[in-house]
């Protein structure tokens, strides 16, 4: 499903091109939004349970103030979401009201429009652009602006320090992430998401699936550089110094509550999905089955893509309960002195490997 096909089809149907265009965009955007909302509920439940199990607890188990949260606490995320929706909307008296209201939307839009280029299976992609990967890298920078606006408009020193830290961190970690994607582009010779996935068909080394991660040692390294940078771009533990609750209350989000906070929350989870999705497409074969030629139908393609993304998100949650938080200087050292040289080495290595191995 690409949006162009929809526009053409609707233009034949309604005989009014502007209307067809708006309808086609809505037909793509509304399911994408619903998908993010439902996925966020699942992810919140997953995070509650995974974190509990890792700490040898049971997590939400059907308790709740007056409400029964369902078997195994399955309704807990629904209760959380309802609580956020019904909470009083507080805007601090000294905040800059206009920008305070605008900020969560900028952050969410930055995450939301990236979904336009994510291929869920062979056909299910909103727009298979020529510049797909590059588009995702580019629009994700909108989120940084939103965070700065949120931090500044809150008129609170914790918010401002959180915003400064978070934007410095995201801007820095964008560089190793983008350079690792360059490795993928060098091997596939295309920026289109579907083109990158189609390149990863078949076998490599006789036994492994022809995913880019397995193609040579440097791409193997590049995957980890990308994934670590990606976790950091989502501001997740161990890189969550921007909202370190022990020193900055809640960083950028200190003054936000209710629905506006929910949008930041939703964007964080959407960003996790995008980072995992790009990692799955760029390095793990996207919708390709782990066993080439086995269960490759479009329905299974959707399953494999969501499975890979789900596993990567699980690893992010695993990180959260395994590693302690990094200090600011350690954070920047890792980015500029470890990940960036490694990313450059990968580009160099893949170039030489491609010339010598001829593939």
């Amino acid at each position: 499903m690409t949006v162009d096909v929809l526009i053409d089809w609707l233009a034949n149907l309604v005989d009014f091109p502007e209307l067809a265009f708006i309808l086609a965009v809505l037909i793509c955007a509304i399911p994408a939004f619903l998908f993010i909302a439902v996925y966020a509920l699942v992810a919140i439940y997953g995070e509650l349970k995974i974190s509990s199990f890792m700490q040898d607890k049971v997590g939400p188990m059907g308790q709740g103030p007056g409400l029964h949260a369902g078997k195994w606490g399955l309704l807990q995320p629904v209760a959380d979401a309802l609580k956020l929706l019904l909470k009083e909307d507080i805007i601090p008296a000294s905040a800059d009201t206009k920008l305070f209201i605008l900020a969560p939307f900028i952050v969410f839009i930055g995450a939301f429009i990236s979904f336009a280029a994510l291929p869920f299976n062979q056909n299910l992609i909103i727009a298979d652009m020529n510049i797909g990967v590059f588009y995702i890298l580019a629009v994700s920078s909108l989120g940084v602006i939103g965070l700065i606006v949120a931090g500044w408009s809150s008129n609170n020193k914790w918010s401002l320090y959180g915003a400064m830290r978070s934007s410095a961190q995201i801007v820095s970690y964008e560089i190793p992430a983008a350079l690792s994607i360059v490795v993928v582009i060098m091997l596939t010779g295309t920026l289109s998401m579907q083109g990158i996935i189609q390149h990863q068909d078949g076998l490599v080394w006789g036994i492994l699936p022809n995913w880019i991660i397995f193609q040579n040692p440097f791409t193997f390294l590049a995957f980890f550089v990308f994934f670590i940078s990606g976790v950091s771009e989502c501001n997740r533990t161990p890189f969550d110094i921007p909202e370190a609750e022990s020193e900055l209350v809640a960083g950028t989000f200190t003054e936000y509550s209710g629905m506006r906070y929910a949008f930041f929350f939703l964007s964080e989870y959407a960003n996790m999905f995008i980072v995992s999705g790009v990692a799955a497409v760029g390095f793990l074969g996207g919708w390709h089955s782990p066993i080439p030629g086995f269960l490759e139908a479009p329905g299974w393609g959707l399953f494999w893509f969501l499975f890979k993304v789900g596993m990567l998100i699980f690893v992010m949650m695993w990180f959260r309960w395994t590693f302690p938080r990094l200090r600011v200087d350690q954070l920047m050292n890792i980015c500029w002195k470890v990940l960036l040289p490694m990313a450059l080495l990968n580009i160099f290595g893949v170039g030489i490997w491609t010339v010598l191995a001829g593939r």
Partner: protein, 162 residues
């Protein structure tokens, strides 16, 4: 479809550019600049320059604008909301700007534009890459050396003197 969309994007780009210039609050100007950059990126898409649009968003919104916002927040008392600037010499500025506007408008209308009747390109990235690596290799390399020099200079300036 395209014409309505074009006018909306052009309106956003120009309208937000006016806010950038006329607003008294520096931070508001910087935020309005986001919409100007996004509008210009949209205009690039209309010119079938999808890669240029991506570069526009990545470099200007993701890089330069963040730098501007950092500059605003670091140079002033960062916890104060009232970061304002004032516009001087508005009369002279208006005369110069209107003059430039008429000169540019006259040139755009008078120039016999070269029209190439060709299929709209479906893919621009490959062509740009090939041209950068063949015909425009020297400017490309010179630009990268310049950027490297700037990078080393910035590192030298920000380093603590031993």
């Amino acid at each position: 479809m395209s014409s309505v969309l074009f006018w909306i994007i052009a309106f956003v780009a120009i309208g937000s550019a006016f806010i950038v210039v006329l607003n008294k609050n520096l931070f508001y100007s910087a935020i309005a600049l986001v919409f100007t950059f996004m509008g210009v990126a949209g205009l690039y898409v209309f010119l079938w320059a999808d890669f240029m649009a991506g570069v526009q968003v990545m470099i200007y919104v993701g890089g330069i604008l963040v730098l501007i916002l950092f500059g605003i927040m670091l140079t002033n008392r960062i916890s104060s909301v009232n970061i304002s600037h004032s516009n001087y010499h508005q009369g002279i500025g208006a005369v110069i700007v209107i003059g430039i506007f008429f000169i540019l408008g006259w040139m755009i209308l008078e120039t016999p534009w070269l029209r190439i009747v060709e299929q709209e390109p479906t893919q621009t990235v490959g062509k740009i890459g090939r041209l950068l690596m063949t015909e425009y290799l020297l400017p490309f390399e010179v630009a990268s050396v310049l950027l490297l020099a700037a990078l080393i200079g910035a590192a030298m300036l920000s380093r603590k003197a031993n």
